[in-house]
Symmetry: C2
Subunit: 246 residues, 2 copies
C-alpha cells in the first residue's frame, strides 16, 4: 500500500467586534472552508474574537501550535481599531515597524503626500514576515511562520488567498458525494445509515437536514479520500433509501 | 453614581463538519450575535468545531467557564453523527438517558410505532438538564448549567432562542450609532478618528470598510452603553468628516 499522506490541517481566526455584534455577517469562514476543501486541506477549527490584543494573541498562539496553517481575517486596515499586525507580532514575540516593501506597495496607490501616518499603519509588518499582495487596494497582508494574516473585506481576502493557496502543502482532496434523501425524514433512515456508517469506517457519513417551505429537505454526504470507498458507501445508502421509499 | 451593571457575556459553539467543509454556510452566528446584542449580552467569542466528542467536550468546558452563557448549535438530530448531547453530558460528567419529558414531546409529532431507536436518540438528555421546546419539529433542545444546546437548522435554532432569551440575565443594551463616511477612504479619516477615540474612552469606535462597485463604502460605528457618550462622540466624528469633505 502507498504511504498514507499526513493530513494537512488549518484553522481560521476571524478578528472583529463587528462580527461579534452581529452588525456584519461573516462570509469569509464559508469561502475559506470551501477553498481549503478543494485542495485537500482540512479546516478543523474556526474562532471569532474581538479586536483586543490579548484575545488575538492568545487565539493565534493556541491555533498556530495545533494546526498546519492558521488564516486570520480582519484588523489590518489603517484605523486605530486595526490591531492585528501588532497583535501577531506580539504573539510571535518579534518587533514590528514600517516595512519598506509594504510602503512601496502603498505608493502604487497613494501619492507620497497622501501617505499619512494612518495609511502608513498598513505598512507595519512584523519582523521576518513575508508579504501577501493585494491587487484590489494594495495594502498587503503578510505571513509569518504558519500564519497567514489577511484582510476582512471578502473581495480583498479572496484575492490574497489566490496568492497564498498555491504555495501551501495540499492534502489529498476529500471527495464528497451527496445523496438527496428526498422527502424522507432523518428518523426514517437514521438506523439504516448508522449501520452503513459502522461498516464503512474509512469514510465519514453525515446527515444534514434543512427546511424548505414544504418541510424537511435532507441530504446525506459521504466524504472520504478514497474514491472506491466513497462509491461503495454511496451505493449502499442509495439502496437503503430505496427500501424505505417503497 | 449608580452601581455599574456587570457585563453579561456569551460564547457560541457551532458544531458541525459541514460548516468546516464549507458545504453548509453558517447563518446562526450572525443571528445569535444580533439577538444577543439587542438585549445587551456581549458575544465575546465564537468557535466552530467538528462532530468529534473530544473537540466538543474541550470547547464546551473552555467556553462555559469563561463566559456567562454558552450557546451551542448543531448535532442534536437522530443520526449517528449527532453526538452533541452525549458530548455535553461528558463535559459535565453526568449521565445521559432517554428523558420522559422529551419522549413525550416527540410523541406530539410521531406515532408511538414510528418512535424508533434513531428518533429516540433525540430524547437523550443529560441528567439534570432542562428542556428547550421546539415548536417546529418537537425534538427539544436542552440547557444544563450555563449552556444552551440548540439545533443547527436555523429556523429551529431561532425558535429555541425565542424560548431561551427571555429567561436570561440581560446586560444594559449597547447603543450603536452608524455614520456613513460616504466616499471618504479610511486613510483620510483614520488619524482624526483615532484622536476622537482617544478622547472618548467610554465608547468604542470602529471603522468598517466594505466594497461596492464604485469603490469603498466605509462606515463608522460608535458603540456604548451611555446614550450621551455615544451622541457626543458621534457629533465630533460628523464634524471631523465634514472638514475632510470640504
Amino acid at each position: 500500500m502507498p504511504e498514507p499522506i499526513a493530513p494537512v490541517t488549518a484553522a481560521v481566526l476571524v478578528i472583529g467586534d463587528e462580527i461579534l455584534s452581529g452588525r456584519t455577517k461573516d462570509k469569509n469562514i464559508g469561502s475559506i472552508a470551501e477553498r481549503l476543501t478543494e485542495i485537500g486541506i482540512d479546516l478543523r477549527e474556526v474562532r471569532v474574537v474581538p479586536d483586543e490584543a490579548s484575545e488575538i494573541v492568545s487565539a493565534v498562539n493556541a491555533l498556530r501550535a495545533r494546526y498546519t496553517y492558521l488564516f486570520t481575517t480582519g484588523g489590518i486596515g489603517p484605523t486605530h481599531d486595526d490591531i492585528t499586525a501588532d497583535s501577531v507580532a506580539a504573539a510571535f514575540e518579534v518587533g514590528i515597524d514600517v516595512d519598506a516593501r509594504a510602503r512601496a506597495m502603498l505608493l502604487e496607490r497613494h501619492k507620497p503626500e497622501d501617505l499619512n501616518e494612518a495609511r502608513l499603519r498598513m505598512a507595519r509588518i512584523p519582523h521576518g514576515a513575508d508579504l501577501i499582495p493585494n491587487p484590489v487596494s494594495k495594502a498587503p497582508g503578510f505571513s509569518i511562520g504558519n500564519v497567514f494574516v489577511m484582510a476582512g473585506v471578502p473581495q480583498i481576502m479572496n484575492a490574497m488567498l489566490d496568492a497564498v493557496l498555491p504555495g501551501l502543502s495540499q492534502g489529498v482532496p476529500v471527495l464528497a458525494e451527496t445523496i438527496e434523501a428526498g422527502g424522507l425524514p432523518e428518523g426514517a433512515f437514521a438506523t439504516g445509515l448508522s449501520a452503513i456508517a459502522a461498516r464503512h469506517g474509512s469514510v465519514s457519513i453525515g446527515s444534514y437536514p434543512s427546511m424548505t417551505q414544504s418541510g424537511f429537505a435532507n441530504r446525506i454526504v459521504v466524504r472520504g479520500r478514497d474514491a472506491e470507498a466513497v462509491a461503495a458507501a454511496r451505493v449502499e445508502i442509495e439502496a437503503m433509501l430505496e427500501t424505505l421509499k417503497r
